[in-house]
Assembly symmetry: C2
Homo-oligomer: 186 residues x 2
């Protein structure tokens, strides 16, 4: 990994700008001395303010317990250029491999939570567990985004969107249709 | 709308192929004589089998009550070529406008639910309300996909992915990385 981004704080209520299009993301977490990172495709924005994101994290993943116990994680947005790392992280189990070492992931302390922030990713959304009502039945965590950092450039990164069966859709251009919208708050 | 698709039944446990990449979708519903259609961007796949999809549908939307009362809807996948219809449907309120007439939406009966299927969309996912535990607190419906129909061609349609503020990301190519995956069931 050799991405070097200059990132700045980004309004948490605008997290949708980067998450709503549906890119695959990397979720990093830590509990005590254990830290891990996983690949995630099943999540959705749920609210602007508080800034909520609902995430499926299977209990079979090592990250599940780290996040449940620590009550926090970071949702990191990788670019398509990181596709081999994205897939590798999804292949490996945190219990048998130190994925940070194996994939040479540089990381920093988060601003608001106790979980590693992935430096090579385009954006980082620090998350605190907000509601665990669906945790037992569906492994569905509802997080509040407590801090966001986004790269200054490019404005919109090329992202990878998973279809299952090893297939990824690669994001294309972003176009403005602002003039067609009656409500400006959507 | 002039799309003419030849659609065939599609395995419901593979709904992710088209929904996981995160395209904006059109949700159609009906209760008694009232029917409606809305634009939706906040949803996620939650399970393969049963095939579950979690969806945020604000109570302020006319569709909310139709879906809550009828317990079903259809998630229709429009292509980018329908962008003006997608935005128009998002602008209008079902209480004051018949969106089916205004946007000349052709529709058919569903196979498994009492809700209109949008013929001009690339794919249709018929949904039955599966769990309403988060309905009061978050307006979050968990649906089971009970039947899916997908166009035979093209294999992957060009879709629109919303970023907020009138901006859409347009989907690009689909590439296979199957060889890099250790587990073939992901």
């Amino acid at each position: 990994m050799k991405n070097v981004y200059r990132k700045t704080a980004f309004p948490v209520d605008q997290a949708r700008t980067y998450l709503e299009p549906g890119p695959i993301v990397l979720v990093s977490s830590q509990y005590g001395q254990k830290k891990n990172v996983m690949t995630m495709g099943w999540y959705t924005v749920m609210e602007f303010n508080p800034s909520l994101v609902g995430c499926m994290i299977t209990a079979a993943n090592d990250s599940f317990e780290l996040i449940r116990k620590s009550g926090c994680c970071v949702i990191n947005l990788p670019t398509y250029s990181m596709i081999e790392t994205i897939i590798g992280i999804g292949n490996d189990h945190g219990s048998s491999v130190d994925k940070f070492k194996k994939y040479q992931l540089k990381y920093s302390d988060a601003h608001t939570v106790a979980a590693p922030v992935l430096d090579d990713c385009y954006a980082n959304f620090e998350c605190r567990l907000y509601d665990k009502k669906l945790l037992n039945t569906y492994n569905f965590f509802i997080f509040e985004v407590t801090y966001a950092a986004v790269a200054k450039s490019p404005k919109y990164p090329q992202t990878a969107h998973y279809r299952g069966s090893g297939l990824f859709m690669v994001s294309g251009e972003t176009a403005s249709y602002k003039k067609l919208f009656k409500r400006k708050d959507l």
